[in-house]
């Protein structure tokens, strides 16, 4: 059991809130400070993005933060250096999220070992194919105690969701719709039906809903149907403002309501 499993196992009636942000943005050194501030503000777990030059699943806000982070000098090597300090300052579960190419260049095995060494609990790499994970990388993820998180969209077939449920060891990341990041969730009859359909499947893994969750209303709707919800672009936008650090606690309070 890693920190993610414990969080979901012990959650009770709590609505779990996760925040995504990009490492090295707005400044190279802001990564761990933001993590600490978020934990103190009551966030339940974190997804720290490592930037890539060609983030095809992201909308303009996260594209911008990724470009800025790269300009600031962020890389996986720099990130793992920064995270050496992580577990002295932060107790909540932390996942790393990013695209597969930087991981391949760092080396998948080295990446998993570095994650374990700094106390990262899980990884979300949306463009790592399930097939490659199963055939080549699953054992090294598991040896290092890492949960590999898979995405599910409204178009994902039931058969594939079952397969994902079998392979998952942390939670399932349910996309509110098939979309790039940063589009506002409009809860329609279709999304309600989709969320209900997933719930009715009684998956073994907990479910967190992400993409397009920007405010209290969407957070509540999402967590009516799932164990947790994830906020990304709306928070990254805040990081672009002056004095963002002081505004974080209020932002989180408003989200949770």
């Amino acid at each position: 059991m890693n920190r993610i499993n414990r969080l979901f196992a012990d959650k009770g009636s709590k609505r779990i809130l996760s925040i995504y942000y990009t490492a090295g943005y707005p400044t190279l050194e802001s990564t761990v400070d933001i993590a600490e501030t978020l934990e103190n503000a009551g966030v339940d777990f974190l997804e720290i993005g490592f930037p890539y030059s060609d983030p095809v699943a992201d909308g303009p806000v996260i594209q911008h933060s990724s470009e800025a982070a790269l300009r600031n000098g962020m890389s996986l090597g720099v990130l793992f250096e920064q995270l050496k300090d992580l577990r002295r300052r932060v107790n909540i579960p932390v996942l790393l999220m990013g695209y597969v190419n930087p991981v391949l260049q760092y080396g998948v095995e080295s990446f998993c070992k570095s994650c374990k060494a700094v106390g990262v609990d899980g990884v979300i790499v949306p463009d790592l194919p399930m097939y490659e994970y199963e055939e080549r990388y699953r054992s090294v993820f598991e040896e290092n105690g890492l949960s590999n998180i898979f995405l599910v969209t409204p178009q994902t077939s039931e058969e594939r969701i079952r397969k994902i449920d079998d392979l998952s060891t942390g939670f399932i990341y349910l996309l509110s719709s098939s979309a790039t990041t940063g589009k506002n969730l409009s809860v329609s009859e279709n999304t309600e039906a989709y969320f209900s359909r997933i719930r009715a499947m009684q998956l073994k893994n907990p479910v967190a809903i992400g993409f397009g969750i920007s405010g209290h209303h969407a957070f509540t709707r999402a967590t009516d149907h799932a164990d947790g919800a994830i906020v990304g672009s709306a928070f990254v936008k805040l990081l672009g403002e002056t004095d963002y650090s002081r505004k974080i606690p209020q932002f989180i309070r408003q989200l949770k309501g």
Partner: protein, 394 residues
């Protein structure tokens, strides 16, 4: 199954695959499950062949270039893809994909384009079929390639500027992929080269393979032999080369030469010679050779020809390179421009600057006298007149 073709898992050796986020999976999987059945169906074959003949103008001639042959002391044949409707090989692929999209019930087409050749070829087939067409093009390329932007618009396509990243071809491709993520049901993405997740590289190569299928027949008529001694083609993403090589891959006595753009020289920092400068990596959904930093960030390439200005090559090329089945060479801007002028003066044919890279390779080879050499003349130079004028100061 040839060792050079894609295997049932979607890989060429360890290259290829489908490195895509889940949002793209249903569309790509639908394509993977259906593309072979559709393109082998009688109904598809008949319409494809008919359009290639009556609309594109195929077969394209295999022209024995006499004065060029005299100059290099061997028999040089030009495969005239420049004579196709819209002026390049790109339309072979867009005809194939539009027929596929129709049969998949798609109502909306998206595409990326660099120089605008693939965008024009896509806008053309969308006009032909009355389908809605959206083309993503880097903001910088939109400025550089105004006539092609005008062509696309005249055909009714919407041209959207890619403002992200470096604002060129790779960013246009990113934007097209984002569009597909956000339109998961009714849209087909017509990729313009042998890149992208499986099954695209194989599918596009099959549509382009008409080039080598025709060449074999034409060579038999003209030389008494179906195979030449050398085949030369330029490589951006690699689609004209993939089509030109396709039916020669298992004839090991045919020497295959793939020409990349060296730009201002492979060591100049301004180059697109991927097999020299790239390492194994993942971009736009497949594992291949890729120009990138140590940290895995994609490096922006450079070539005077917008069509060769791509930081990767298709996975089949990475595999042919690694297996040594084809030789990968590179040609600088200057060498290509001179070769373009030479063909114009010797044969009265103005080649696309992309194709001029393949022609320039002739200068660097030595021939045994009566060898047969086929060069893929992938496109015509109309789109490049401005560049030629500026370069030579006409």
């Amino acid at each position: 199954m040839s060792e050079y073709q894609v295997n049932e898992k979607g890989y060429y050796g360890h290259f290829g695959g489908a490195y895509i986020p889940e949002m793209l999976y249903p569309n790509v999987e639908e394509l993977r499950q259906q593309y072979l059945a559709i393109i082998h169906s009688d109904d598809f074959r008949q319409e494809f062949d008919k359009l290639l003949r009556d609309y594109v103008g195929r077969p394209s001639p295999l022209y024995p270039a006499q004065r060029l042959s005299e100059r290099y002391g061997t028999n040089i044949f030009l495969k005239r893809e420049d004579l196709n409707h819209t002026g390049a090989h790109k339309i072979n692929n867009t005809i194939g994909q539009i027929l596929l999209a129709e049969r998949l019930g798609k109502k909306r087409i998206i595409a990326e384009t660099g120089a605008g050749q693939h965008g024009v070829a896509t806008a053309t087939v969308c006009a032909l079929k009355g389908l809605k067409c959206v083309v993503y093009m880097g903001a910088i390329d939109i400025e550089r390639q105004a006539p092609n932007v005008a062509r696309m618009k005249m055909m009714g396509a919407e041209v959207i500027a890619a403002e992200s990243g470096s604002k060129t071809l790779k960013d246009a491709t990113n934007e097209a992929l984002r569009d597909w993520i956000n339109n998961p049901v009714d849209t087909h993405y017509i990729i313009g080269s042998v890149v992208g997740p499986h099954p695209y590289p194989d599918m596009v190569a099959r549509f382009q393979s008409v080039i080598s299928a025709e060449t074999r027949k034409q060579l038999l008529e003209k030389t008494g032999r179906e195979t030449p001694d050398h085949v030369i083609a330029c490589v951006g993403g690699g689609s004209n080369a993939a089509g030109m090589f396709y039916h020669f891959l298992d004839d090991h006595d045919v020497k295959l030469v793939a020409v990349e753009a060296a730009g201002k020289g492979v060591d100049s920092g301004e180059s697109a010679a991927t097999t020299v400068l790239g390492r194994e990596g993942v971009l736009h959904g497949s594992r291949s050779l890729l120009m990138q930093t140590d940290d895995g960030q994609v490096i922006e390439p450079y070539s005077i020809s917008a069509g060769l200005d791509y930081p990767g090559v298709g996975p089949q090329h990475a595999w042919l390179y690694e297996k040594g089945r084809a030789t990968y060479v590179n040609i600088t801007d200057d060498e290509a421009m001179q070769a373009g002028l030479l063909l114009t003066r010797l044969e009265g044919i103005i080649p696309a600057i992309e194709s001029a890279h393949a022609l320039a390779q002739l200068e660097k080879m030595t021939f045994k006298g009566d060898e047969n050499v086929v060069v893929c003349l992938s496109g015509r130079g109309d789109k490049d007149l401005d560049n030629y004028m500026k370069y030579f100061g006409f």
